[in-house]
């Protein structure tokens, strides 16, 4: 892990209903290159909102997000270009149902990166090979299981060769027996040095793969530390309370 800061979040605010609801209330965080940051917290704590602000799927009410040295919250910033470098995996996979798996993966690289269809397909096939789904290249999303869909969603993002991957509760919509196969892919990705921000309820994953755990509650970061420190010696009352309920 290097100290190179990839994403710098400064006093991030996200309000709804004119400030009556503060989903994010002054969040400061840094994501370093090659780091795996796991965000945990009770529901409604703002952890998903925080993640979705990082690539501006949610528009922050205030504060700044600096990605690779660019302030992406600046209205003049070309967010579409920055998003190409920030892969995102959703709870509900969001594969494109009207396209084959292969087309799901090659669409963005061919349209946005100017890759040839052949080049993009070779890359996609290599990635499918890695997650053991190369035989499903011609299938449609509806023909796959949840675990398969999520693995495809992950490699679809990887086709854009992102610098960071954002995971928004990637295993929450899966049947229990399929959680493992998705976490396995994520673990491999972490081992290869991919920068990852993961919102999850999988504490085992946080402990094993995370370099750092951020605990959020009420739109604020309550505590952040190494997984060992958070899980074995939580400092804050909120953290202890939350962990006692789920561990």
């Amino acid at each position: 892990m290097t100290t190179d800061v990839l994403i710098d979040v400064n006093d991030l605010q996200k309000h709804f209903k004119g400030g009556a609801i503060r989903a994010l209330d002054g969040v400061n965080a840094q994501i370093h290159r090659g780091e795996v940051v796991v965000v945990i917290g009770p529901s409604g704590s703002g952890k998903s909102t925080f993640l979705r602000c990082l690539n501006l799927l949610e528009k922050p009410t205030g504060g700044t997000i600096t990605f690779e040295g660019h302030d992406i919250t600046d209205p003049k910033a070309n967010i579409n270009l920055h998003r190409q470098k920030m892969g995102m995996v959703f709870q509900h996979f969001n594969l494109f149902p009207h396209m084959t798996i292969l087309r799901n993966m090659t669409l963005a690289p061919t349209k946005l990166l100017g890759k040839s269809q052949k080049e993009a397909e070779e890359q996609a096939m290599a990635l499918l090979e890695r997650v053991g789904l190369s035989d499903r290249a011609g299938a449609y999303p509806s023909q796959l299981s949840g675990g398969q869909k999520q693995r495809i969603a992950i490699v679809r993002s990887l086709c854009m060769e992102p610098d960071v991957m954002l995971f928004d509760e990637p295993t929450s919509a899966l049947d229990p027996e399929m959680v493992g196969e998705v976490l396995e892919v994520m673990k491999e990705l972490a081992n290869e040095g991919m920068t990852m921000v993961v919102v999850t309820h999988e504490m085992g994953f946080a402990r094993e793969v995370g370099d750092r755990v951020i605990f959020m509650a009420d739109g604020k970061i309550v505590e952040e530390n190494t997984p060992e420190a958070i899980f074995e010696h939580p400092q804050e009352e909120r953290t202890k309370n939350f962990l006692s309920k789920i561990l």
């Binding site: 690539n55 799927l57 969001n94 494109f96 149902p97 009207h98 963005a108 349209k111």
Partner: protein, 241 residues
């Protein structure tokens, strides 16, 4: 067998004698011409209006203040006005307004009818497309944007193909309605299929043969298009087993 001979004579009188079938034949040609070009105009208008309307609904509140936002607001208001007026008045009245007022100097009644029916159909197609766009899961839009596609690219590659598939049955129904609605084209001197039957009736003084023939021809066309759309639907459904 007396009734059969009467029927035969009736048939001869209405269709064969003086080549009266030609009224139906040229009428059918005009009906198809009007429908075909009106469908094209309707789709073009419908796509544009539905995109303006749904873009407004989806993005206006989040947009940065500026000329773009203002333009979108104006566009949305124009589209709403168009929808209200077109859907609030009968197509025959619109047709006559087009022919006798707006294009009063034009003698090309067929072209006027194409515009009138196209503009009319566009309003209904717009609302059909808009419901299709809104029916696509918001996650699809987010997935597209998160890959780096801009709003227009996401619409084009991800949202519209799915929206089109969702609305195909409703859209087909709209075209069937349009095909039959063109039967009022006679109001502006067009000899369409219905008018063809009406002219024969005026000459032969018999109602049964020409009117039933006209009805059967419409029915056959509608059944054919229904079958065609059914095939298209089955092909598009390949992706969701």
């Amino acid at each position: 067998m007396e009734w059969f001979q009467t029927l035969q004579a009736d048939f001869y009188l209405n269709f064969i004698q003086d080549d009266r079938w030609r009224y139906l034949w040229t009428g059918l040609g005009n009906t198809l011409k009007i429908t075909f070009f009106a469908v094209i105009i309707g789709i073009v208008i419908g796509v544009v209006v539905s995109i303006v309307r749904s873009t407004y609904d989806k993005t206006y509140d989040e947009m940065q203040p500026g000329p773009g936002r203002y333009l979108l607001w104006i566009g949305d208001r124009i589209c709403r006005l168009y929808l209200t007026v077109i859907r609030g008045t009968p197509v025959v009245v619109q047709l006559m307004i087009m022919y006798y007022i707006i294009f009063a100097s034009s003698r090309n009644s067929l072209m006027v009818a194409v515009f009138a029916f196209g503009i009319n159909s566009g309003a209904y197609v717009a609302e059909i497309f808009r419901s299709g766009i809104m029916s696509v899961d918001a996650g699809q839009f987010e997935a597209g944007r998160s890959l780096g596609f801009n709003y227009v690219e996401t619409m084009r590659h991800i949202i519209l193909p799915q929206a089109f598939k969702n609305v195909l049955p409703t859209l087909a129904n709209e075209f069937i309605v349009l095909l039959k609605e063109t039967s009022v084209a006679g109001y502006v001197t067009i000899r369409d299929l219905t008018m063809g039957g009406y002219i024969i009736r005026g000459v032969t003084y018999s109602s049964f043969m020409p009117l039933i023939a006209v009805a059967l021809i419409y029915l056959t066309m509608v059944m054919f298009f229904t079958w065609l759309v059914g095939r298209l639907e089955r092909r598009l459904r390949n992706s969701d087993h």
